[in-house]
Structure formats: C-alpha cells, structure tokens
C-alpha cells in the first residue's frame, strides 16, 4: 500500500474539496450579482430623473442643463440615424467579405491576408479611428457640403456614420463568413449537379440558407454600433438639437454621456445622463440577446 491514510488527512482532503467547489460556485454567483448590480445601479441612479421627468423624457426634444429640462429625443434620433446608416453602408461590404472568405477563398494565402487585415481593422481603437476621420473624412465631407451649398461643418451624422460603418464591418463580416461556411456541401453540390453557376448557387442556395444567420449578424452589429462612443463623439458635432439630415450635427446617446458626464453638476442633470445610460443598456442587451438566440437556433 502506498500511503498512510489517517483521519486528519481525510478531513483536510474533504475540506480542500469543499473549498474548491464552493469557490467555483461563488465565482459564478459573483458574475450574476455583478450584472444585477449593474442594472440596479443604473435604475436607482436614474430614479430622480424618472420621477421628475417621467415619460416626457422620451419625446422631449429640449435638452437644456441651464433650465434643468431634459429630453432625450435628440440623442435617440442621433443614435438611430447613425446606427441605421452605418448598418446600411456596412452590410453589403460585410456580406461581400463573408462570401469572399466563406465561399470563394476559404483557404490559401489570400484568405489568410484578408482575414488578418479584417482582424487588424477590428483591433484599431475607436479613438484612433475617430482621430483619423477628423483629418481625412471630415475635409472630404466639408468639400461635398460646400459644393451642395450646405453649411460646411465637416462633422455630422454622415461623417460619424461612415466611420461607424468601418468599425462594424469586421464584426458582422466574421459572423457572416461563419454562417456561410456552415452551408452543407451536399446542398451546394446538388445545385451544381443541376448545372447552376456559382453565382446562382450563392443566390438560390447559400443566401436563403443563411438568412437567419445574416439577420443575426446585422443585429449584433447594430448592438455594437449603438454603444460606440469615441469615434462618434469626435465626428458628430456635439449639438443638442434633433438632426434634420445627413449633414446636420447632433449627438448620440453614447456621445452625449461622454461629453457631458464630468460636467454634470446638479442631481437632475447627473441622473438624466444616467437614465440615458440605462436606455442604452436595455436596448443593446435586448438586441444582443435576440441576435445570440438566432445564432443558437441556426447552429442546431
């Protein structure tokens, strides 16, 4: 027999096993508590604003810290416009990349280069992209605005949307590439054996098959776009009015928080900004959850 087995040794063993198991479970509970804490903190800190402003918060278009009147409509509009535009601009590119990497060139050195390039693009920090946009995209937009006779701010909804679309392309592209590569070979071969061209296989077999995956990709990209802060803050012009068109300046929910949070003196001001954060949290969570659920269903 190899070991001495005594009573105290066993007791110590049981204790160690117990501590180990409990630590694991506790860590999982910690995450749950953390998340609840985040939600509750947002809720509780928004109370003063919810109480004072009520539902008007959502449709009031005036945001004036001086008179303590807070309506979030300008920022919700700003967020909606920039995100929607960014999705519209980026989706064709994301689908193109997804087809390129998932269907046309799934292996080989070209695939490697493009894949790494897209990953690299995803890794560039938002603040640097915004910085770059200030010196490259803004002058271009300014020239266009002058030609069109609009006020040549340079910054504004369109500019912010362009940078935003660049930022979310890697995100939706990788997801779309994934679902495209999961199309079963036998379905494609069935179409080829009937004499279809590659384009027709893509159009009539692959795209319909991945439709739900595509919508999940768009949804998740939307979730990302809604929360994007830095690049948007640097390129949207930071005004409190509802943007009227592509070339107007404005603000998004995320950018107004970034701009004004440290200056928010006064309880109501502070609480109103946090309420915007609460709305952001709820909306992005719902969108992400729907997207994740769609993917899970697609995988099974």
């Amino acid at each position: 027999m190899a070991h001495v087995s005594s009573g105290t040794y066993l007791k110590k063993l049981h204790l160690k096993e117990f501590v180990f198991h409990k630590t694991l479970t506790l860590s999982a509970l910690l995450i749950i508590v953390l998340l609840l804490g985040i939600f509750l903190t947002l809720l509780v800190s928004s109370f003063p604003s919810i109480k004072a402003l009520g539902v008007k918060f959502i449709y009031n278009k005036v945001w004036d810290p001086v008179t303590d009147e807070y309506g979030a409509l300008p920022f919700m509009t700003g967020t909606l416009m920039t995100s929607a535009l960014a999705i519209v601009i980026s989706t064709p590119f994301a689908i193109g990349i997804g087809l390129f990497l998932g269907e046309y060139y799934p292996r080989g050195w070209i695939s490697g280069i493009i894949k790494n390039a897209i990953e690299l693009l995803a890794g560039i920090p938002s603040v640097i992209l915004g910085f770059w946009g200030m010196f490259t995209i803004v002058p271009i937009i300014r020239t266009i605005e002058m030609k069109l006779g609009v006020t040549p701010y340079g910054v504004g909804i369109l500019t912010a949307s362009i940078i935003l679309s660049i930022m979310i392309i890697p995100f939706s592209a990788s997801l779309i590439r994934l679902v495209i590569s999961m199309v079963p070979l036998h379905l494609k071969e069935a179409a080829y054996s009937l004499g279809a061209t590659r384009f027709e296989v893509i159009r009539y077999v692959i795209i319909p098959y991945v439709k739900s995956g595509l919508s999940a990709g768009i949804l998740l990209a939307l979730g990302r776009a809604l929360g994007e802060t830095m690049a948007v803050t640097m390129l949207i012009g930071n005004t409190q009015i509802i943007p009227k068109g592509l070339f107007s300046t404005g603000n998004t929910m995320a950018s107004v928080i970034a701009n004004e949070f440290t200056e928010a003196t006064g309880n109501l001001y502070f609480s109103a900004l946090i309420e915007i954060g609460l709305v952001l949290f709820v909306v992005t969570t719902i969108i992400n959850m729907i997207g994740v659920r769609i993917i899970k269903r697609f995988e099974s």
Binding site: M1, A2, H3, S5, L10, L13
Partner: protein, 252 residues
C-alpha cells in the same frame, strides 16, 4: 481458499434508468489474473469502473450492492483513497502530456502532494519502469516528454505509473486493443511476470488473450455474470449456451 482480494455481492449498476449490471457476484483471488469477457455492451467496462468508483462520476450513473476490497466496503471509504489502492490502465494510453516520463511514473505521488527524497523517487521510477519492461528503452530519456514513445511504449508507461502506487488490485480495460501485435504480446508477458506481486483484472474481447494470460475468466452477457470459473474450464467445458456461443465465435 484464502479470503479474496475483491468480492462483489449483488452488484447492480445503472445509467439513469438503464440497468447495465445485474446482480453480479464475483470473487477475485490474490495474485491471480481474471479476464472479464463478453460481447460489446455487456457491461464489462462498467464493472471495473465500479470497482474503482469511476462509474459514479458519470452524470446520472448509479449503483447499488456491495463491493469489498480486502474485506473493506469500498463505498464506506473515501473514493480518492480507494483509487490509490486500485490502479487502472485504460484502453487508449493516456500519459500526462505536460509531464516528462519520469514525472509521469511518479505522478501518483507528486500530484497527491507527497514529498519524497530524490533517491526514493529515483528508486520508485526505476522499479516501476523495470516491472513494466520499459526501463531499458527510456532510461536515457527520463526527463523528456513521452510524446516520442510509440503506442505500446506509452501504454507500458501508463502501467508503470499505476504500478508505482503498489496497488492491491490492478484493473486493465482492454489495454491492448489499440496496440499492434508485438506491443500486445510484450504487455501480456509483463502481466504474467508480475502477477506474483499483484492481482489483476483484465477486460478483454480477445479470447486468445484471455486464454494466454488469465487464470480465471468471468463471462458477462447483457449485464449478467453468467459464468465464472478457471479459464481452462470455461474454454473446454462452458456451462452456459451464451458462453459457448461466444467462445465458438457465433457472436462477438
């Protein structure tokens, strides 16, 4: 007869609601080799996994009945301590691939926090590797990782690792079914050589192997221990029709 090393009384095992072992009553004598045989799915692996209480680690797996090792009820002892007294070698060799050969052999001690002197460790490693007939092939490479070893050598490493613990009972679950014929015969030789120091239970679906190596054979069919006797008796004069059919190759 001396008292048996291992005795099971009315052992039953289940996966959820599926009844995979039915009222198994078996005795294993000291310093003998007992072969556990039967067609696929008859419960052989489940049986030995009950002996070292590995069975209960699977989700929804349960068992009832009595198993005693040297007279002690194994369900009354700590499973960790039980497993130090019972060694197991698996079907696919599974040396720890983050450890060197030396560290693999001594793993049973070091992982359990036993502090041994270097001389003690060296001695245990050499003794175990010699018993597993692997010493000469690896003695100059003890501190390399075992990934360069062939399948047969890796399996002998796993045997050495189990032997290092000086177990009262050694369980082997189809240890040579993944190996080539030469490695297989080397391992069979091993078992015959160290049977005088150990007691061995070997699950095998290879009848010739059972015939070559074992003193006793236990035959399982659909979860029941239908027959158990000296190997020579089972092979020449089986009492049950299933045993006879299996031996003559009617099913396998």
């Amino acid at each position: 007869m001396e008292s048996p090393i291992l005795k099971t009384v009315d052992l039953n095992a289940y996966f959820g609601k599926t009844h995979v072992l039915k009222n198994v009553n078996l005795e294993v004598q000291k310093n003998s080799i007992t072969a556990i045989m039967g067609p696929s799915g008859c419960g052989k692996s489940t049986f030995i996994r009950c002996v070292n209480r590995l069975h209960e680690l699977t989700e929804h797996a349960t068992s009832d009945g009595q198993i005693s090792l040297n007279g002690e009820d194994i369900y009354k002892m700590s499973p960790t301590l039980l497993r130090r007294k019972v060694g197991m070698v698996f079907q696919r060799p599974n040396p720890f691939n983050t450890m060197s050969i030396y560290q693999n052999v001594i793993a049973g001690y070091t992982l359990n926090g036993n502090i041994l002197s270097k001389t003690d460790k060296d001695q245990i490693v050499e003794e175990s590797l010699k018993q597993a007939a692997l010493w000469n092939e690896v003695k100059d490479n003890l501190h390399k990782k075992g990934t360069f070893l062939s399948g047969g050598q890796q399996q002998r490493l796993c045997i050495a690792r189990s032997l290092a613990m000086k177990p009262a009972l050694l369980l082997l679950d189809e240890p040579t079914s993944a190996l080539d014929p030469i490695s297989t015969s080397k391992i069979e030789e091993l078992l015959l050589e160290f049977k005088s120091s150990y007691t061995i239970l070997i699950v095998t679906h290879n009848m010739q192997q059972a015939g070559r190596v074992s003193d006793y054979t236990a035959f399982f069919y659909l979860g029941e221990l239908t027959e158990w006797d000296k190997t020579t008796t089972i092979f020449t004069n089986p009492k049950h029709i299933q045993t006879q059919n299996y031996i003559t190759g009617r099913f396998g």
